[in-house]
Structures are given as structure tokens and as C-alpha cells.
Amino acid sequence: MTIDSISLKDLLLTIRKEMADAFSNAYWIRAEISEIRENANGHCYLELIEKDSSGKLIVAKSRASIWADTYRMLKPYFIKETGQELKSGMKVMVQVTVSFHELYGFNCAIRDIEPSFTIGDLARKRQEAIRQLQEDGIWDMNRTLDLPTPLTRIAIITSSTAAGYGDFIDQLKKNKQGYIFHTTFFPATMQGDGAADSIINALDKIYEQQEQYDAVAIIRGGGATTDLLAYDEYELAACCAQFPLPIITGIGHDRDQSVVDMVANTRCKTPTAVAAFLIEQMDETADNLLQIEESLKSLMDEFLKNAHSRLRNNALSLSQRIHLLLREEKQEMERTQGNIKHSISLLLMRQRQRIKESNVKIKNTIKSRISEEKHHLEISEKAILLLSPDYILKKGYSLTIKEGKIVKSQSELNKGDTITSIFVDGKKESIIK
């Protein structure tokens, strides 16, 4: 059996020829870059794919290339327009010519690129991430966290190679107010492929020891501002949004805010701005403390002053009261004294009166007594006078005395006795016969 056959090369050359005839035009196609690499000659080799509507299943795949002379122009143009480098996962609209080579197979040679398509796609993805975060209900979670006071213990996620990190630490620690910041460094890749995962990894580490920090600073010091797509990725943004500590970003790019910036508690443009913000927060805290201190001081002064004047008033009124009381007592005493004096003088007067009266009475009594006695005496005198020998002698009687004794009877006398007769005007002796 003889079968007609041609060599592989003949077949492939035929395909090459047919294809060149049939697909001589250039075509604008939409595809996703799944692989991309530059070689030393300046050519760029890619793999373009298309996925189904679910975004999971690859339904078309082709090699592609951008030859060095084209790539030299397309690359800066694309970066200038989109702010991004061509990279895997990126959707592009490119103008290609197709060719088939017996040795290298099918290839799309990229002649031109439409950056607005990629921009639109990135914007759509970004929008999609934002919508998803809002739908998940986590959009505001980090943004609404209160910044703790004082804000001193900062976990810092940045690249270990970032020159800006040293400046940032310097700026923070040598603040002229003398605030103490405690910083801990968590290294991560801050841009390009793997940045999102690397930052999420660092956040996980911080999460495990979250009590030790007041906030997280995600900073990216200097470097090209390309390839910051990580900060628009849903996973990283979702991780930041739900993080329990406030996140402060200083990613440093000129274009619109990234999604991470949007969900972060505080967004600063640069690491320098983050440091300034942290110091500012401390200024506020310190101001607040100073105000409290000053109002306490003045309130206590006032309190003491009031208490002092109250005391003085009390003391004053006390002394006034004492004076008043003393005056009243004095008056009362004087009144009592007056009363007593009056009573006493009244009493004295009465007594005197009575004494006087008694005196008069006594005098009268004595007088009358005396006169009575006198009268009595007079009577007695008279009687005595009447009875006295003189009185009797005057009347003519005489006394006969014998030997010194009064003779009361004639019988006492004998003849011859000498008697003495006493008369009022003298005596005469006689002899009895």
C-alpha cells in the first residue's frame, strides 16, 4: 500500500503560506496577559488567554510577542497612560498580526496597544472591589474605629529596603515635643507581584499581638509609583477594612486613592505625612491633658478662694454675733444690777424708815418710862421725905437715943440714965429723974 505523504515541514510551510494569505490584516483583539517576560534582546514574550464568563475556565490561549523595536515604544507609552506596567492578570486591547512558523508555531505579534481599555478594566475591577467591600458590610469598619489616646505604640509595615523608613523613624522619634513612640517593624513587599499577600501576612502577625499596639502604619517609602495594583485588590482591602486596630496609610502615589487608602482609618499621602499625623495626634492629646491640668488648677484655686472667703465671712459673723451676745449680756447684767440696786436701796430705805420709826418708838417708850419712873420717884421721894426723921423732927417730934440706940419704949429708961434728945435743930442731953 502506497500512501501519499508530505513532510511535516512541507505541511507547516503550506499552513504558513495559507495563513499569511488569509490573515494578512491586523486585528484588534481583547485578551488577558497570563505570562509576560522580556529577554535580553529587548523582545517581549507573552501568553494571552481568554476566560469564560465565570472567570475561571480558560477558553482560548495563544503565544504573543512584542518585538523589540515596537516594545521600546509601547512600554513607556503604556506606563505613561496607565501608571502600570504590563503584567500578568492584566486585560489588554492589542493590535496583532498573526503568523504561523514551521518551527515556532502560532504567534500573535503585537503592533499596538490601547491603554484606555486596561485603564477601564482596572477601574472596573477597582469598582468591583469597592462594591464587594460595601456589600460585605465591612467598608466602614476600620474607618470608624476611634484612634486610641495616646497613640504611641505603632506597628509599621514597610519594605526593609525602603530608604524612607529610617527617615520616618527619625522624624517620629526626634519630635521636638519629646513624645515617646514605641515602633515595631514588620517587613513586607510593598509593590509588584506578591505585595498584597506579603502585606496580609504582616497584618496577620500584628493581629496575633494586637494588644501591644495602638495602630498600624502601612508605609511605602519612595520608589517608582508603578505597580501599586495590590492596594486595589479586594483581599488586601478586605483585610485592612476588618482589621481591629486603626490603619494609617502612607503609600505615596500621585493618582487617586487606592482602595486600601479608602478603607483605612486614616489616609496620608507619604510616610512623612504619617509621622506628622501621629505627632499631631499626640499634640492634641497633650493639649487636652494640659487643658485638664490648667482647668483643675484654676478650679481648685477658685475653690480654695471661695472656701477662704466663706470662712472669713463665718469668722466675721461669729465675732459679730459674739459681740452682740456680749452686749446683750452686758445690758441684761446692767439691768439686773440696776434692779438689784434699786431693790436694795428700796429695802434700805424701808429698813431705815423702820429703824427710824423704831427709834422714835423706843425713845417715846423710854421717855414715858423715864417720866413714869420720875413720877414714881417723886412720889417715893415725897413719901420718904414724909417719913424722914428730919421731916418728923421738923413737925416737933424728937428722937431719944440711949447709948447710940433709938429708945422706942419708956421701959428702956432707968433713973439716972443719960439720954440724948435729937431735935430738928440739934440735940440736948438729959438725965432721967
Binding site: T152, R153, K173, I180, Q210, L245, L289, S295, L296, E302
Partner: protein
């Protein structure tokens, strides 16, 4: 969240309470000395949180001298 932070916050709110008591004349003269002492302690504590303890400050000053 963090224990230390709460303590600062608590200190501030305690200080604010003392201010309120003073403003509303709720304090007795007997309490004043105690409250003043307490306020001084709290302010010292808060300042240490912001400016570090004396040791820390001295260390920083030393570091600055070295440079």
C-alpha cells in the same frame, strides 16, 4: 482594646470627673486635698504615657548627646 490605653482613658475621665465635681461645687473642703493629690498622680501618669518616664527621657537625651 489595649489595657494601657484604657488606663490612660480612665485617667482622663477620672480627671474630667474631678473637674465636673469642682465646677458643680460638689466637693467638700475635706475632699479637696485628696482630690488634688489624686489629680496630680493621674496627670503624672498621663504625662509619662506621652513623654515617657524620666528614665526614658534621660536615655533619649543621652542618645542625642552621642550624636
Amino acid at each position: 482594646m489595649a489595657k494601657k490605653t484604657n488606663t490612660y482613658k480612665e485617667s482622663i475621665s477620672e480627671l474630667e470627673n474631678i473637674i465636673t465635681e469642682l465646677e458643680e461645687n460638689q466637693l467638700e473642703i475635706d475632699d479637696l486635698a485628696n482630690k488634688a493629690k489624686r489629680a496630680t498622680e493621674l496627670i503624672k501618669f498621663c504625662k509619662e504615657k506621652l513623654y515617657g518616664t524620666e528614665d526614658e527621657v534621660n536615655k533619649i537625651l543621652e542618645d542625642l548627646d552621642k550624636e
